[in-house]
């Protein structure tokens, strides 16, 4: 199916599973914090108090840490959605849209499957979320294999379509009639909610995300599949001559990536929201993509970068209250971290 473009992918880049060295990553983060401190001072805030609040509110308390874990779930899963296709040199920027479709499909099962046991309901929702996300990635895959449409552009544009697609349902047929007019679906039954952990908002989705990261690491790094994927990503033609079914690996990596982003959507509705609503994701898909890039597409390093972005994300919420700092400012800090960590490395010239 994907054979034609696959043949043309002679310039495929070997995307290696290499995270930036820790020292350089820390230097980049440090430099970003210094620049952001200048910004805070310039806008009349005390950077030291702000940073103290940022770190104590996230790393210094049980609740804070649990909130960081809550946001790690979508960052890690949508990060894997970029990391797995990156092994075969496909670039999936559609985690955001795939997350929405996963949430939508899982919600369909939660509201209309009629399953009453959580032992049936939750696996069904996981499966639906995975298939929903994979289907959305599949659209980009089809456009690529049939019409040579680059997956970067198609996945980006499909993100906007996915948000609108969910809106059709939450403003329309799925809207909760008793919901005071808000664009929410009805709340899920207890069987359709992921169990909370430690009496916090943290939920079983974190275990799902950690397991997925570990599994991806093992499959990509330690198995024949992973080896074949790396060969496909490095040089399609050479891989084909070795007898590797490259079309299957290209398609499989993209679909699994989409499915993992779909799981992020499923976790969000089943673990946090307990219903589907308009705009369930605050750019999680984009942040996950960038977390994966920061991690050099290494699933284990992604746990660290996902954790870092989650700390900034949660800390931003706290600073909004304590330092009267609009949440938008956190995107400035995240942008600075990305620029500096990506930019401190003087890479060999690379195309992508």
């Amino acid at each position: 199916m994907a054979s034609l473009p696959a043949i043309k992918r002679l310039h495929g880049l070997a995307l290696q599973m290499t995270a930036p060295p820790l020292a350089r990553a820390l230097a980049g983060i440090g430099a970003a914090l210094v620049i952001f401190a200048l910004f805070l001072s310039a806008t009349g805030r005390d950077p030291l108090t702000a940073y103290a609040a940022l770190f104590s509110s996230t790393l210094g308390s049980r609740v804070g840490l649990s909130e960081v874990g809550v946001f790690m779930v979508p960052f890690v899963l949508t990060g894997l959605a970029a990391a797995v296709p990156a092994r075969v040199a496909l670039i999936n920027v559609g985690g955001e849209g795939q997350l929405y479709l996963g949430a939508w499909a899982a919600t369909g099962v939660a509201l209309y499957s009629g399953l009453s046991s959580p032992w049936l309901m939750l696996p069904a929702m996981v499966a639906a979320g995975f298939v929903g996300g994979a289907t959305w990635a599949g659209v980009a895959l089809l456009l690529r294999s049939w019409r040579n449409v680059n997956e970067v552009i198609s996945t980006l544009l499909l993100n906007f379509v996915a948000v609108l697609f969910v809106n059709i349902f939450v403003f329309g047929p799925w809207k909760n009639t008793g919901g005071f007019g808000y664009p929410y679906t009805a709340d899920f039954s207890p069987a359709a909610t992921l169990p909370a952990l430690f009496g916090t908002r943290l939920h079983l989705g974190l275990a799902l995300a950690l397991a997925a990261a570990l599994l991806c690491y093992l499959v990509l790094g330690r198995t024949r599949w992973g080896y074949n994927m790396r060969a496909t990503g490095g040089n399609v033609e050479a891989a084909r001559r070795q007898g590797i079914p490259v079309a299957r690996y290209l398609a499989g990596a993209m679909l699994v990536g989409g499915g993992l982003a779909g799981l992020a959507g499923m976790s969000e509705v089943a673990g946090i929201q307990h219903h589907l609503r308009s705009g369930i994701s605050s750019d999680f898909g984009y942040l996950g993509f960038l977390a994966s890039w920061l991690a050099g597409h290494n699933p284990l390093a992604l746990l660290a970068t996902g954790f870092l972005l989650a700390v900034i994300f949660v800390g931003g919420d706290v600073l909004q209250i304590t330092a009267n700092l609009p949440s938008a400012a956190m995107y400035i800090l995240i942008g600075l971290v990305l620029f500096l960590v990506l930019g401190l490395k003087k890479d060999r010239p690379q195309a992508a």
């Binding site: 473009p5 043949i7 043309k8 992918r9 002679l10 310039h11 880049l13 040199a89 670039i91 920027v93 456009l143 690529r144 019409r147 040579n148 449409v149 680059n150 997956e151 970067v152 552009i153 198609s154 980006l156 544009l157 499909l158 993100n159 906007f160 379509v161 609108l164 697609f165 809106n167 059709i168 403003f171 329309g172 750019d283 984009y286 942040l287 993509f289 960038l290 890039w293 609009p326 938008a328 400012a329 956190m330 995107y331 400035i332 995240i334 942008g335 600075l336 990305l338 620029f339 990506l342 930019g343 401190l344 490395k345 003087k346 890479d347 060999r348 010239p349 690379q350 195309a351 992508a352």
Partner: protein, 307 residues
């Protein structure tokens, strides 16, 4: 039937206005890509142009100052991309997205005080006689100054790329940096210039959006127009004249959507909102082989056998 015709006529007359901001961004991205670089950060540059163009207009009361501020803000953001990809060899796609995210943060922060402000924006100016042309007269010749400038810019850019020394240098760098270097050009300088020019034009597009089309600023108001511009560059096969067709197609999709909404078509408004993205994707899927051949050599490493 008559409602459909009415909607199509309305879409036609409304196709130009919403297309102009995208057209500027498409010109900008085209210059960048002609030099062999891709910048997904132009979505952010458009936001910068929309936000700072609007804020400067509110502060100075002078819309031309706003246009200038918007263009410079768009260019300023693109310089971050230029530095990172040209001098630090970072991944172009990841860097562009990070730049867009950063631009979204900066504009959401800086634009807080301006949500809901009112301005005297760029108003449509009718061109005498031309305006009275049947069918397209009003659509094309009752527009704002930036729209007229955009009409002129297409042919100018085409001629610039094709016939001038600078245009040749730019294209040479986009085809092969090593050959261009051997021919005495400094590829890094040309690429930085091309990315900056791209950001400037995207900023102008953003300014047109907030100053002429909506007369307002809101967070994330570009809604992916920068990404659509990236797609339209491909649809336009790296030619400014074809890009104009693409931008008006996009504008037509928005015009049709608004028109159907106004006449109360029994369709979910969210389906109508999908039009611009879906039509852009469809158009991209239809035009492939020819576009692939027209791609600057330097981009092939990024887009790898696809468009």
């Amino acid at each position: 039937m008559s409602t459909v015709l009415l909607a199509l006529a309305g879409a036609l007359s409304g196709a130009v206005g919403p297309g102009i901001s995208v057209l500027y961004a498409t010109y900008g991205e085209m210059i960048t890509e002609k030099a062999g670089r891709i910048n997904l950060g132009i979505e952010g540059s458009m936001l910068m142009g929309a936000c700072f163009g609007f804020a400067a207009t509110v502060e100075t009361g002078n819309v031309l100052a706003g246009v200038l501020a918007g263009a410079l803000a768009g260019m300023g953001l693109s310089l971050v991309h230029a530095y990172l990809v040209v001098f630090r060899n970072t991944s172009q796609l990841a860097t562009g997205l990070a730049v867009t995210l950063f631009g979204a943060g900066v504009t959401a922060y800086a634009g807080r005080g301006y949500v809901g402000s009112s301005i005297v924006g760029l108003d449509p100016i009718g061109l005498p006689l031309l305006e009275q042309m049947p069918l397209l007269g009003k659509a094309l010749f009752r527009q704002d100054l930036l729209a007229y400038a955009a009409y002129a810019l297409g042919p100018l850019l085409w001629a610039f790329l094709r016939y001038t020394r600078w245009g040749l240098s730019l294209r040479a760098v986009g085809e092969s940096t090593s050959v261009a270097f051997a021919a005495g050009r400094n590829p890094a300088r040309w690429q930085v210039g091309a990315i900056a020019a791209g950001g400037l034009l995207a900023g102008l597009g953003g300014a047109q959006l907030s100053l002429a089309l909506t007369h307002s600023w809101s967070d994330g108001m570009t809604a992916g127009r920068g990404f659509i511009a990236v797609a339209l560059v491909i649809f336009g096969m790296w030619s400014p004249l074809r890009a104009m067709i693409g931008a008006f197609l996009f504008g037509g999709a928005i015009g049709l959507q608004l028109q159907l909404q106004t006449i109360g078509a029994p369709v979910s408004p969210f389906i109508l909102d999908m039009f611009p993205y879906v039509i852009t994707l469809a158009v991209l899927a239809v035009w492939t082989g020819a576009a692939l051949r027209a791609m600057p050599e330097g981009l092939k490493g990024v887009l790898k056998g696809t468009i």
